[in-house]
């Protein structure tokens, strides 16, 4: 059985369809990138995976669980912006991954000391130990995203969702973030979904690349139809389609 | 020049001023003496006196006590042009339940601080051998909120004036312990005008006095017109004819100029003013710079003066009222 399974999902806002008949099965440990035109519904798909929204039709299930109704600790997420808590120091941001699930959002005494040590270890691993006591605003964009990823992973999610995590970074920083992510995955294999604008980034990092597009198109009413997965590439072997194109492109 | 402004505020004995303006009586008399007089109503009594003191008005309705403290104390030479009445029960000390003045010891009293109410309280306490320091507190309470204040549990005793006295007296458990009828002639209500203005424009004094006594005659007559006039005044003060008549009953109105002249020239006034001055000095109302209780001089119709003769700022005059009495207007 596959680990993440999306079955015949539709999503509309009001009477405007965004996604149509989206189905995909993903194995545990797979890195999936999602590409597509701006506004085609990539972030919407990620929100469905996250259970931030429930689909109008169809269902998303992870590890065979019944569909979730809201986000929880089994799903980690990193957005392009606002991904860390600006009012917490770098260390407390990592600590939050353990503290926030406590009754009052805080740990005390021994539990706190242990969590703090784990947080410091995580900071050392991602190379942020030297700024542990600063606030995120003092960090560069790249460091902030590194922190956001470390924070998400500290909660040990079953899947990690990234929505254009490197979209706001300059090319140099972006390259080093690719290395960072690749290293992290080498240490701990995890199931990742990453939305990106950059096709080459998608192919470089992922095992599998999903392309979202509209298969039906009404030139008079461009908002009439939703998008779905039109291509599904295996990116491990130089881009040979994992499955063939899903449906003919009726441009 | 030739154009004057008089301020007045709501009080039983001053309601005629509103009627004088509305009915056109003022315009007639003003025309007769070739002046222009505008009569303006104030919602706030203190503000009317302040405006007069600052020179924005040429005359104002005021009590003897406030005339001494605010304009006269402030250096504005002021003449009591018309002695309209003295309070004869219009101001009262009211308590919840019963008891005597002596029982006030240890209780708070709500009143408009530094007003004639305060003076009445001082006189009431005097009569029982108490001093203000024997009270729990004197709580300054706006007259506009006195009735609402009475309804709260915190308030045990108030000192206030009509029409509020009538309204509070109508509440179930109120008792009047002391009122101005116990100190007749000490709380005098008058129309004060700027002495310099009056000296330069005797026509203003003649017009005001003429208009006032025409109205007095009208009001006091038991005719249809008299009732109509009093009804209009009653409505303007928020009550009905019966209510207003009751308030007038607690007011010793000087319906005729002769009455007023007689009172103004009496020794009573000469005795009252130094006592008032002493009270004001005691409360610090005469100002930081006031060296003593008699630093302001008060002149009386017979030419005598109490206080500092070199600093006469308040003058009781019968000149114009006498003209009315003589039918010379």
């Amino acid at each position: 059985m596959s680990f993440v399974s999306v079955r015949n999902v539709f999503q509309s806002y009001g009477d405007r369809p965004i996604l149509e008949r989206v189905s995909v099965e993903v194995e545990e440990g797979c890195f999936v990138s999602i590409v597509g035109a701006s506004g085609c519904g990539k972030s919407t798909f990620l929100r469905l995976l996250l259970a931030q929204e429930t689909p109008s039709r169809g269902e998303v299930s992870i590890a065979g669980q019944p569909p979730a109704r809201e986000p929880g600790r089994d799903r980690g997420v990193v957005f392009q912006k606002y991904s860390v808590f600006p009012h917490l120091t770098i260390r407390d941001n990592i600590l939050a991954a353990e503290e926030l699930s406590a009754r009052w959002g805080r740990l005390w005494g021994r539990a706190r000391r242990a969590a703090r040590e784990r947080a410091d270890a995580a900071l050392a691993r991602v190379g942020l130990a030297h700024v542990a006591d600063q606030y995120p605003a003092a960090l560069s964009g790249g460091m902030q995203q590194r922190l956001a990823i470390a924070q998400a992973l500290q909660a040990r999610p079953r899947i990690l969702l990234l929505d254009e995590p490197f979209g706001a970074l300059d090319p140099g920083t972006r390259l080093s973030m690719h290395d960072f992510l690749t290293e992290l995955r080498a240490e701990t294999p995890m199931t990742v979904f990453m939305v990106t604008h950059d096709l080459s980034e998608g192919f470089k990092l992922a095992d599998r690349v999903l392309v979202f597009d509209k298969t039906r198109w009404d030139p008079d009413a461009p908002e009439r139809w939703g998008a779905t997965i039109t291509y599904d590439f295996d990116a491990r072997h130089g881009g040979i389609p994992f499955q063939s194109a899903r449906a003919p492109h009726a441009a | 020049e030739g154009s004057f402004r008089i301020g007045w505020s709501i009080y039983a004995g001053w309601m005629p001023w509103g009627y004088i303006e509305d009915s056109g009586i003022m315009d007639r008399w003003a025309e007769k003496y070739g002046v222009d007089v505008e009569i303006v109503q104030f919602n706030d009594y203190v503000e009317s006196i302040n405006q007069y003191t600052a020179g924005a008005f040429d005359g104002v309705t005021v009590t003897n006590m406030d005339a001494l403290s605010i304009p006269a104390g402030g250096g504005v030479d002021t003449t009591a042009l018309i002695i309209g009445d003295y309070s004869n029960g219009n101001d009262a000390l009211i308590v919840k339940g019963g008891g005597t003045i002596a029982d006030l010891a240890g209780k708070p009293v709500n009143l408009v601080e530094l007003s004639v109410s305060h003076y009445l309280l001082a006189r009431a306490l005097d009569s029982a051998g108490l001093a203000e320091s024997d009270l729990a507190a004197v709580v300054n309470t706006s007259d506009a909120d006195m009735i609402a204040a009475w309804a709260t549990a915190d308030v045990e005793a108030v000192v206030t004036w009509n029409p509020l006295v009538a309204a509070i007296d109508a509440e179930p458990d109120s008792t009047i312990l002391f009122d101005s009828a116990d100190i007749p002639g000490e709380i005098i209500d008058m129309l004060a005008v700027n002495t310099e203005t009056l000296a330069a424009n005797p026509a203003l004094g003649k017009a005001l006095v003429g208009a006032w006594y025409e109205t007095m005659a009208l009001m006091s007559s038991d005719s249809e017109e008299g009732r109509a006039a009093r009804t209009a005044m009653a409505e303007a003060s928020g009550t009905d004819l019966a209510g207003y008549d009751a308030q007038l009953a607690a007011t010793r109105m000087f319906w005729t100029p002769a009455d007023a002249v007689a009172f103004a020239a009496s020794d009573e006034v000469k005795a009252t003013m130094p006592a008032v001055a002493a009270f004001l000095y005691d409360k610090g109302i005469l100002g930081v710079g006031a060296p003593s209780a008699d630093f302001v001089g008060v002149a009386y119709p017979d030419g005598s003066v109490t206080g500092d003769p070199a600093n006469v700022k308040l003058r009781f005059s019968t000149e114009f009222m006498q003209m009315a009495a003589d039918g010379a207007l």
Binding site: L50, Q52, P71, G72, R73, R75, G76, V77, F79, K81, Y82, S83, V84, F85, P86, H87, A96, A97, L100, S101, A102, R103, W104, G105, A137, Q151, A152, A155, P157 | V46, N50, T53, A54, S69, G73, G74, G75, V76, N110, E113, L114, E132, A137, V139, N140, T141, S142, D145, A148, A149, A151, T152, A153, D154, V155, I285, G287, V288, G289, K313
Partner: protein, 270 residues
Amino acid sequence: MRWINRRPGRPLAVALALAPFALAALAYVAGSEARLAANPADKLLPAPSTLWDAAMAALTEADRRSGEILFWNDTFASLTRLALGVGIAAALALTLGLAAGLLPLAGAGLSPFVAAVSMAPPLALLPILFIVFGLGEVSKVALIVIGTAPFMIRDMAGRVAETPVEQIVKAETLGASSLVIALRVALPQAMPRLIQAVRLSLGPAWLFLIAAEAIAATEGLGYRIFLVRRYLAMDVILVYVAWITILAALLDLALRRLSARAFPWAEPAR
């Protein structure tokens, strides 16, 4: 060079800043001298020396009746009421604003009512306040609360509702419950804004305080101003007005400092 590009140097900037104050002072002195020349006993615009004497007397001389220095008594009484009123309003804003901004159900219930209440003129409701809360301290504090809380609640609710949804979702993925999100994500980030709202509300709070003290009180800065208005003691009034202005400025400064100190992460980077 364009005027928008001309920047004053330090000395000119100081001179420019002082100029309007100097002009106002000059206008006052001229007005005062003109009035005093006409009437040496004029009380409306006392001479600067009289003001100074009044200030010294207020600061040092004990009241004949009570033996206490009224000035400090009044200041203490007023500041206590102000602190209580604004404090309670801030506490309400924090709890209700947080609830209305974070929980859609609470927002649906609270927001329209608070919006309606914020439009009502609190001064006109004073008589009812007196009946409900009595004539003592409670009603004065209540007037301040009623006058300032609706604005603060709306401000907080709006600010909390603006919390980036990304942060809320992030907290959810870290396992946070609604309570924890409120306490550890929304509340701390709303705090600087609360202090901001308190700063903005202090002006109206002073107004309500002065209005309440004018109506029924035995001490307080507003009480004194309205009491001595009875004999047009402008020297005392002006001293008190200046003092209130200074107090308001100091409070404002203190709150700004407090915010910068307590929430360094919220300061704009410079």
